[in-house]
Chain length 283, copies 6
Amino acid sequence: MSAVDPPITAVREAVTRALIEDLEPLGDVTSALLPPGQQATAAFVAREEGVVAGGSCALETFRQVDPDVEIQWRVDDGAAVDPGTEIGRVIGSLASILIAERTALNFLCHLSGVASYTRRFVRAAHGDARIWDTRKTTPGLRALEKAAVRAGGGRNHRGNLSEWVLLKDNHIAGMGITEAVARARERWPARTVQVEADTLAQVDEALAADADIVLLDNMTPEQVATAVQKRGGARRPLLEVSGGVTLQTVSRYAGTGVDLISVGALTHSAPILDIGLDIVEVR
Amino acid sequence: MSAVDPPITAVREAVTRALIEDLEPLGDVTSALLPPGQQATAAFVAREEGVVAGGSCALETFRQVDPDVEIQWRVDDGAAVDPGTEIGRVIGSLASILIAERTALNFLCHLSGVASYTRRFVRAAHGDARIWDTRKTTPGLRALEKAAVRAGGGRNHRGNLSEWVLLKDNHIAGMGITEAVARARERWPARTVQVEADTLAQVDEALAADADIVLLDNMTPEQVATAVQKRGGARRPLLEVSGGVTLQTVSRYAGTGVDLISVGALTHSAPILDIGLDIVEVR
Amino acid sequence: MSAVDPPITAVREAVTRALIEDLEPLGDVTSALLPPGQQATAAFVAREEGVVAGGSCALETFRQVDPDVEIQWRVDDGAAVDPGTEIGRVIGSLASILIAERTALNFLCHLSGVASYTRRFVRAAHGDARIWDTRKTTPGLRALEKAAVRAGGGRNHRGNLSEWVLLKDNHIAGMGITEAVARARERWPARTVQVEADTLAQVDEALAADADIVLLDNMTPEQVATAVQKRGGARRPLLEVSGGVTLQTVSRYAGTGVDLISVGALTHSAPILDIGLDIVEVR
Amino acid sequence: MSAVDPPITAVREAVTRALIEDLEPLGDVTSALLPPGQQATAAFVAREEGVVAGGSCALETFRQVDPDVEIQWRVDDGAAVDPGTEIGRVIGSLASILIAERTALNFLCHLSGVASYTRRFVRAAHGDARIWDTRKTTPGLRALEKAAVRAGGGRNHRGNLSEWVLLKDNHIAGMGITEAVARARERWPARTVQVEADTLAQVDEALAADADIVLLDNMTPEQVATAVQKRGGARRPLLEVSGGVTLQTVSRYAGTGVDLISVGALTHSAPILDIGLDIVEVR
Amino acid sequence: MSAVDPPITAVREAVTRALIEDLEPLGDVTSALLPPGQQATAAFVAREEGVVAGGSCALETFRQVDPDVEIQWRVDDGAAVDPGTEIGRVIGSLASILIAERTALNFLCHLSGVASYTRRFVRAAHGDARIWDTRKTTPGLRALEKAAVRAGGGRNHRGNLSEWVLLKDNHIAGMGITEAVARARERWPARTVQVEADTLAQVDEALAADADIVLLDNMTPEQVATAVQKRGGARRPLLEVSGGVTLQTVSRYAGTGVDLISVGALTHSAPILDIGLDIVEVR
Amino acid sequence: MSAVDPPITAVREAVTRALIEDLEPLGDVTSALLPPGQQATAAFVAREEGVVAGGSCALETFRQVDPDVEIQWRVDDGAAVDPGTEIGRVIGSLASILIAERTALNFLCHLSGVASYTRRFVRAAHGDARIWDTRKTTPGLRALEKAAVRAGGGRNHRGNLSEWVLLKDNHIAGMGITEAVARARERWPARTVQVEADTLAQVDEALAADADIVLLDNMTPEQVATAVQKRGGARRPLLEVSGGVTLQTVSRYAGTGVDLISVGALTHSAPILDIGLDIVEVR
């Protein structure tokens, strides 16, 4: 267990599901044609620069397909790779390796894609602000994708609707921010209470209401800078920029002194990291 | 059931899983603060041009959250939308709508993203060749993503390792293509037998071996054109281009007379289609 | 959806599981002896004073057993009942009612037991401090039991290990509270950071470290009062009493000015609330 | 497999479910802050006198969280412990131990609570009658709780509606006990047929009807003694007392010569047995 | 709920599983070619004489595929059909009907096969002895197959290892039947205790031991008749013939006065009942 | 992985399900009476001639019940056995062996029954035509039964509705075979397209339409021979006989020169292969 590992329960369940969808009902009709007994060594190799994530899923895939396949894993989640870096290798039945290959790669490439895309935003922010994710994740893969964001150096916004309170306009309508925050604190003591502000006037109200974090929704860098000034030297609330931030615009937002920048694209639109499985030897 | 619908079993299971990951253990701690009894109308609205897919998932999400929410769906999977097009609307408890919102959108935006990206490749191929997908899908979502490819006008390569035989170099090693195809036909009669060819010499061998389809792996458009000529006027085998085809290069490949172009990016790297849920009215 | 409702996904899954364990493999061998077609009306009646919870589970049980059973539910979760109060009634096939009876009651009695026991602590605290639960829940029923605590007027501590940071001595060892809190904030921005303090010296350190909440572990009311004084007029951190608080001692702790008192017994040792299902009429 | 072990299938499934509810979506956000590589030894220690049950669940929890944790288990289910008795110890990654701790304890404390409470009833009955459980179990945990009753020296009433016939007034209405028993024997040969008797007149009828066991519902010890006399020296039917028997009243019922006393509270209202996990060493 | 119905939980789960295995990942690639909107009426028609079972599975299949398909069911489980008897009809989308057809028929033909085969044994026994099943069921379908045996007029032996005690030679070794039965009664009061007897000497011992039922294993009709005489006029124990009884030999065994004849073939080797789905009309 | 192995995911899931249905809620009440610590050796022995299948399910059953049971497996799936052939042996806890026995045998006898019945058809066809299965499988066991057919020397027709296109009269109505095949090819490129022909006129049309395989439905051997002649020397389409072929008639059909004969009875009506588990030694 390190800070970037996904929960093992989520890994096991996702791998089982993925294998079922790739194998049933007949199994791998092609590997069934191989001569019995063939052994092989194969290496996971990065084809491009990026950050690895999803290693535990790749390993679990081989374990579930064939516990006799030996796995030598070299690159931990969160580590950077270059084109040609060998991430790990598997040694065992050729048929087992071919059966597990695509499922293992689908996890590894997708989650490394999330980590790598996160790293690019993190770098573009120059350490001036934290990059974090959203609930805009691929259905069924939230736990894994949020771990991949951590592997890429990002942070996790709330994991789901249960983790903290995020008051948007529809929640606030008819009572105002101050009343809404108070009500949230009364109902859910000690839990993070966040307020979405669409205007600078709402920022004032949220500051006064003692929210833990204020989401600055779709504001310009200038508006964000003004919000930061309004907070002044106080440690709280945290200020988050949200809405359409891109690799092009992230440094301008980060430079405002805001604490956090949320980027839905980390999980909903990251291209994969290209990783292949090279057969090194067949015996 | 239309040609673009995913299996209902896959829809139900994926939606249940997605709701569990967004709601447990405490449910939506924010909606719990709403005054009881509030009703609302909300509209799914496209924010950009594209093709819709995942409608059945969005509907199922509301059904599972609250069967009393009325759904008026206007845009079928596979239809094009422009910025501002209303895709459907939901009418019922405000809390239910807010609870279902993100899960429904995560399906709709991701799958419409796949459909829209597919449509761009289909258009770029000018009808000269079919675009189809690969097994490089997001783990756990294969059935839904393959349906989204169909919604975008693409075709489906084999659904999984069970559906047809695809002989790659490791399967062929030590027996040659002719022998491998014969063995496949003997074991798996009537099932599609596909051969991967890395060189034009292998194309010759695959043609002679009476494969149903030949995958031309990482060839240039010129090599592909040569392969098409080798086949001549015969209806079979089908010829597929595979390997790194992009929106920039797809038309050159399509122009060679090849039948099919597979694009892993359709499912592994499609950005979402931006769709939002606008609250139209709260009562 | 009200603040006391459990997530519908948890309700459905728990009810299905409970019915399977009561019915398989042969079904109800006794109801199978009833003459076909008998209809009945039956009433859920409280046998003692308390607070109702688990209504959604009872309803879901009948829905899953037989959707044709009509349900008239009268008492919402969170409402008080006296001996003889009719909580709801079911009208339909006698066999279906007898099949569902025990499963529905097991949910209703257990969860109402949790709510009722919570209410007793809430009352004993005279509104001077909030009562909340712990992670000491019955395995598999956390979402339902935490909702029952809310129904009883209690509050929910973190729902699970994922929701917030709770630093105990083993986490702090070798770095100190200040460093540990800073590290938690760096890794998990905006997420609640709680510190366990076993001594008043640790309380000082936790106050200085700007924790969101401090758990006063196994302290006497006098020690707790001292900790409250140390905080002075500041709004933060919240102070929580934890460890062996009983119905006898809760008011003394509540009187110290502490904010929250956690009681594991709410979920791990609450006796059931006695509720029965009376057959009102058989037709 | 001993007489007190629960089915392994139930253990595995319950543990997986419990870990999911404690860990997802983000895993243990606190353990993620630990320095990597820390090893520890921890001991499960009883804090009070009682009987242990649920050992297989505790072990399975560590196995699922981290198969590399070494487990040294010392006290079998069914054995008595005193305050300070070490039940078992775990040696391995500190993070893994902290992640598994609460789930393992929730099983162990709850099930040991059931076993310990059962033992108290068994002792109070002085061996004059057997104590057994009911179907009033915690939803989803029936197999585990029934095993815990066995560990406490109790016996198991029918496991569910499928196991034997229990004729209550609504089943008998309109045909009488004799006819109902005959019908049950005709439909379900060799299966236990039990009759509920609310009056001594019904006891006469049940004796005449050759039931396998008669449930004496809510009778006084005097009425029970009369029923025992009515049976005289015959080996059958067995006679069971049911309804509101407490630790205070159980010996009076047991003294009547009745065979079995059912106590719903064994499973629906047993307080936990207090067991803790002490960190013995961190390396 | 009638005596022949399987538990609804088992029906729902089995149908979901069967649909997944027939539909994923791509759905019905053939029905996808139908013109949209076609409606049809189709009839389930018996092609041979037999007894229907599995109706609830067939209905559930259509409900899960498409809740808008109207179902008119005419023949209850347990009823006899002749070639040409219409069992039920479905009215709705042609595509939905074709998608559900094979799954519904697989349940209906298999379970009606079990019921019909049971009926043949029941008839051949001329009412002289009851026919019942064994635990030799198809894995995953026990609840459904045991219900089908009931539909065919048979009875159910124990549903699984949990329901009653069946002492075979390995259980008895080293203690003798008397001791083993006493031990079983001590551990599992009121639960059926059955003893397997391989010889007439063991029958004597089992009679003396007061077993509830004695299994006469692989005995000739003459040996069985002797065992029946040994029991004399006593109502107990029941006597069961087991081992290789066929349609040819069943009447000779039934004529001995034995109570029950178990036939593993009812569930492990019954041929299907041929039932087809005829499209009556397409609109 | 050999050509006859079922997917490991299907094996694991089916075994878990089967164990749950045989063991819950109380476990094996009889084995619980055994003296603790007894060890045994037991052998799986064929009682009749046939072909083994389901070995991986039998092994997985023991693994799930008790990983400490040692398994020595001697006969691979697909191998022939005679009465008395020892298929494998298990060495370990007697209780574990008795608990796993029936579940392991239910898989082994059923699947070996399918393989053995398949072998009989294969032999009766004298190698003149291939025997293959249908979708008429036992619900929930398709993957395992299709593997058993392969073990018996048969081939697999499409695994489910997703794998290939099979155009029947209702699909063709209103457009004709030629149009239907073209449409199928357009929608589902490279996927097998099969046409059902009820008459020789339809055979002509299917030949002209360039189907991959034609199903000759319920034709006489003479009609089949005519169809074979119509195809002449062409390699395609494959011709399949379907409908009511029995062990008596299969050789006549095979002699016509047809390629494939489908037999639903392989999976829906195969009697079990009688295999027993003999306790060799108890220690």
